[in-house]
């Protein structure tokens, strides 16, 4: 159990010099962010919101208008106030569109063209048909090609949520289902389309979507249940990657002490054996055919989820858990049992303020998260 035993990539120490131009970029993003969240603000409003002076705001806005990112909407109307009427501003929200791609669905790659606000403008998908390795990569490029071609405005960038372990530079270090090992997807996409690209883990993309478009605060865990089980963690507003970029890989944690079903990984009682959709569907089908009630199966699954999450929630003091996956499986007895289990296994100070719920973003959560990654990288907006 030494740390040299794994030939992974070491994260770089981020502490570097800070120049005035970095401050400028930060303040620029601050202005964009403020406008992104609430349009129809004046320069003076922005000054009050950001703490920068009106002069600086004017300077930044002039720069952003020159780049075509911000437009003037005209003068504020309605309320009669003394003083010079304010000139309202907004992001030019149709200046760009974003390509978002989800590689985490079963046997299909899904993609969408999205607005800057994260609305899906156009969807596309391509069946995987068992492709792995270079074939799978080719399908990603084909899907991206179609979506880039469908854009009616310049494309701000291409975001991808991929299963497996993804490094900070967008290299898929390992994705067994797709047969990828050390696949430099982000670099390749960026070079091929001559566009900015971001590749990240699917659950990480999903948690960003929930934060950006689902109204969640900055401390949040998103548990994604599908063919496997994974999670994305947002702590203090920023993604947790983990020392080897494998944070959130909860599927193969053993739950309970009774043994449990055999998992593909060779262990017994992994969280996936209780929660992954193929297992759950099979158990439910069998119950239905034999006439036994189905609810205990969902309750048991939820209970195991709760057992696995309790130490994580306590250790991180997490206020919010969001579930993503088939609503008919997750939303109901399963969630109820998870909540109940969490209540029984954590202090009141922890579970008292805990919110556990389904995502409201549905199946688009990963493509929208991919778009959020592009927004964050290109504009500093989230």
């Amino acid at each position: 159990m030494t740390r040299e035993s794994f030939a992974g990539i070491r994260q770089l120490r981020p502490s570097r010099k800070l120049l005035p131009e970095h401050a400028r970029g930060h303040n620029r993003s601050l202005v964009l962010q403020t406008l992104y969240r609430a349009s129809g603000k004046s320069r003076a409003d922005l000054a009050r919101d950001t703490g920068l002076t009106r002069v600086t705001i004017s300077d930044l806005i002039a720069e952003l208008m020159l780049e075509g990112l911000v437009i003037e909407l005209g003068q504020r109307e309605g309320e009669a106030r003394p003083g010079k009427p304010a000139t309202l501003l907004d992001l030019k929200r149709d200046a760009f569109q974003i390509v978002g791609i989800d590689l985490s669905a079963f046997e299909i790659f899904r993609g969408a063209l999205l607005s800057v606000d994260g609305e899906v403008l156009h969807s596309a998908e391509i069946p995987l048909a068992g492709s792995t390795g270079a074939d799978a990569t080719a399908k990603v490029f084909a899907l991206a090609e179609e979506l880039v071609a469908a854009a009616t405005s310049p494309v701000l960038g291409i975001g991808v949520g991929s299963p497996g372990v993804v490094a900070l530079d967008g290299t898929v270090l390992g994705a067994p289902n797709l047969g990828w090992r050390h696949e430099p997807l982000q670099t390749a996409l960026s070079a091929h389309f001559d566009l900015p690209a971001v590749v990240a883990n699917d659950a990480n993309a999903a948690v960003l979507a929930e934060h950006s478009f689902g109204g969640s605060e900055g401390d949040l865990m998103l548990v994604k249940v599908g063919h496997g089980v994974g999670a994305g963690l947002l702590l203090g507003g920023s993604l947790l990657h983990g020392s080897r970029f494998a944070a959130g890989e909860l599927g193969h944690v053993v739950v309970g002490t009774h043994g449990g079903p055999l998992c593909v990984c060779g262990k017994h009682g992994c969280l996936e054996t209780w929660l992954a959709t193929p297992r759950l569907d099979a158990a439910l089908a069998e119950a239905r055919s034999s006439g036994t009630p189905t609810e205990p199966i969902l309750t048991e699954a939820g209970r195991h989820l709760g057992i696995a999450l309790a130490p994580v929630i306590a250790a991180l003091n997490l206020p919010e858990i969001v579930l993503s996956g088939p609503r008919e499986l997750l939303d109901g007895a399963l969630t109820d049992a998870a909540v109940d289990t969490l209540r029984n296994r954590t202090m009141a100070e922890i579970h008292g303020e805990l919110s556990v719920r389904m995502t409201t973003l549905g199946e688009d959560i990963v493509v929208r998260g991919a778009a959020a990654m592009v927004l964050s990288k290109q504009l500093g907006v989230s």
Copy 2:
């Protein structure tokens, strides 16, 4: 389970304006940090290490020398090299001393005067004698007074590691054993001594000590076993506080599904019931008096620790766990069982690179962590 159900303090959104002077402060800390880790560097060396120019480094060094924080050691000798000989620099390590205080021990407050390098120069302690509330606060002040008086150089600040939940501003929101509720210790200490003060949770202080003085990297969990069980989490080099500053409160997570011993909190099978030292000591004493072997008790404790930690380690992709507490209890069968359990309950990709060990800092870990907090706050050094 709504988030409004707890009348806690809400963390502020950190996104604020960034001014050139903030950049200056960052670069200043960068220089201090570089010198702190390796003395005997020249201005040109620092320029190479930080990426700043020699001009900027000279400017920053001049400022730091004016403040008495940095001194010139004279010219580099030894190796014969071409060029003008370098003037070596160092932190003036005896310019300041630091007061560190540990409120987490049983029935005693421990404190120390420390050097900038984190060495204990002088120790002091004061028995708690059952004091709580204002009496306990007074004992903290008395201990601080003694240590400040013992200083032979100006005191850089006072650091305190306190049990319980501590807000970012150093207010102890709740510490049952000391009878504190919303105790503004940091503000009070700072005002009374006219010195900078930092108050944080004891386990958080400990994890910072392990990082600063124990040689750990920036991803680390420190589990502190004493009268209770708590943890400090360092993720990506920065402390995790949690949405209500209760991160690391692992003691009252239920472990196992068999019920287990009754805990003071009313639940059965909390981690503390397996691991806290009073329980362990009692169980061991009983085993010894009845002639039964003691090792199974330690093994069982370690197993429960492993069960509780497995989901956390997997979710965070943590590479390192450090244990702090009585070595005779933790170091041996207990740790071995924990490691074994973790190996059986997580993927090889997770536990393969995991290191689990005792701290090397012993009983001084919290006071040294408190000193590290002062260093970090006042000099930006860690």
